[in-house]
């Protein structure tokens, strides 16, 4: 004969569950407290480290990079807030200043590159427009990437496109680039010729003619590429942002 579950058993179960719950909460609270203690200690340490090495961080690009890498590996963004203790470090200001200069260079070169600029060119122009002292000159591509990332808050008007071999393009015109478009840019960069064609995309990426044509038409339509109908084989699509003479052209001082 099967025993039916009695009220007592149910109550007992309930009680146990509650006890578990209580214990769980207290453990959790305990851990949380410990964690926040750790965090506080860590914050203090990081803070004192940062303020102690404030000048080094601002002056020495290499040091700054290591510091950034360290922050990144533990998930701290030293630029996330100007209000927090980081404001004492002035790191935020350093990058905000860089961000503004990045925008300036992008705007100033927009007339010729259609809103795409190679990070290296951006750096050369930006460094030239800054002061002559070493501290102003010593800006690494990592600094620029960190600063440019801040600009994402303006929506899709500003983005960074990796094009392989450690190279990046900074896009300063609204309009999301799809994966296909990024692949086109990667191909152009890898060829080092500043131009591309439907057949190259056919061969290198195994794209259908329509897909290639579609992507290239988009690049022309958005002003990133110029079409050249005088090549003997087929139409070529040229990117001023990757054309060496254009990059070196000195019209504006920035």
């Amino acid at each position: 004969m099967r025993r039916r579950a009695g009220v007592g058993a149910i109550q007992k179960q309930k009680l146990e569950q509650e006890k578990y719950k209580d214990k769980g909460t207290s453990i959790q609270e305990n851990q949380l407290e410990q964690l926040s203690q750790h965090l506080n200690t860590f914050r203090d340490k990081l803070e004192s480290f940062a303020s102690e090495y404030k000048n080094e961080i601002k002056k020495d690009a290499q040091f700054r990079r290591h510091f950034q890498e360290m922050c990144a590996s533990i998930g701290v963004d030293p630029l996330a807030s100007r209000k927090g203790f980081w404001s004492l470090l002035g790191m935020g200001d350093f990058y905000y200043e860089l961000s503004v200069q990045i925008v300036e260079v992008c705007l100033a070169t927009n007339y010729k590159n259609g809103g795409l600029i190679l990070l290296d060119e951006l750096r050369t122009r930006l460094v030239k427009s800054r002061g002559k002292s070493l501290q102003h000159q010593d800006i690494t591509n990592e600094d620029l990437l960190a600063a440019a990332k801040k600009l994402k808050i303006f929506g899709n008007g500003f983005s960074i496109i990796p094009i392989g071999q450690g190279q990046y393009l900074v896009q300063s015109i609204p309009g999301e680039l799809s994966l296909d478009h990024s692949l086109v840019l990667q191909q152009v960069a890898s060829k080092n010729e500043a131009h591309i064609s439907v057949s190259v995309l056919n061969n290198e990426l195994n794209w259908s003619t329509e897909r290639a044509q579609h992507a290239l038409d988009f690049m022309v339509q958005e002003g990133y590429a110029w079409i050249d109908t005088q090549s003997p084989q087929e139409h070529l699509y040229w990117f001023p942002s990757l054309f060496t003479e254009c990059m070196n052209a000195e019209k504006e001082t920035i």
């Binding site: 259609g114 131009h195 022309v220 958005e222 002003g223 110029w226 050249d228 054309f243 254009c246 070196n248």
Partner: protein, 172 residues
């Protein structure tokens, strides 16, 4: 000719293809306008003949085997015309005057020259005028000089004396 400062675009092959994108084309034509003016200023030439233009160094870059099409040249001339930097010589619109200074600017330059050199109220020949050494208008074609002086004449700042062999001008 070697003095011409070729811009980077001159070696950028698609510069010689009229661009379909409106924004890009605008930038392209502006760059062409600057180049055309720079070229004529440096070579001291004032006339484009559309039928021959695509064989001149200006519109044909043999190094990259690219030349601007007649449509392209016309589009450039249109921009120049709008800014007062070009004018068709006759109704056929095959030959065009190119003014690297607009006629109004040229008129000021000549008048200022007259003032600075005591030519007011005296007569000088056009030959003398364009052979003044080291001036921007040195060697300027006589047809253009007459057009400029006619402008000054309209403003009653000069009077042209046109004869068969020697033409002159009197500045007021």
């Amino acid at each position: 000719m070697s003095d011409v400062q070729w811009p980077w675009q001159y070696n950028f092959p698609p510069f010689f293809t009229l661009q379909p994108n409106e924004e890009t084309r605008k930038k392209q034509l502006e760059a062409w306008r600057d180049l055309v003016l720079e070229y004529h200023k440096k070579t001291k030439t004032c006339i484009i003949d559309i039928q021959e233009a695509d064989n001149t160094a200006l519109f044909f870059n043999p190094a990259i085997s690219r030349k601007l099409s007649p449509e392209g040249i016309n589009a450039v001339l249109e921009v120049l015309y709008k800014n007062g930097n070009a004018e068709p010589i006759d109704k056929t619109k095959i030959r065009w005057y190119i003014y690297w200074h607009t006629l109004a600017e040229w008129a000021d330059i000549f008048y200022q020259h007259a003032q600075e050199n005591g030519l007011i109220n005296s007569v000088c020949t056009l030959y003398e005028l364009v052979n003044t050494p080291d001036k921007e208008f040195t060697g300027l074609s006589e047809e253009i000089v007459i057009k400029i002086l006619e402008r000054l004449q309209k403003d009653e700042k000069a009077e042209l004396i046109l004869t068969e062999d020697t033409s002159g001008v009197k500045f007021f």
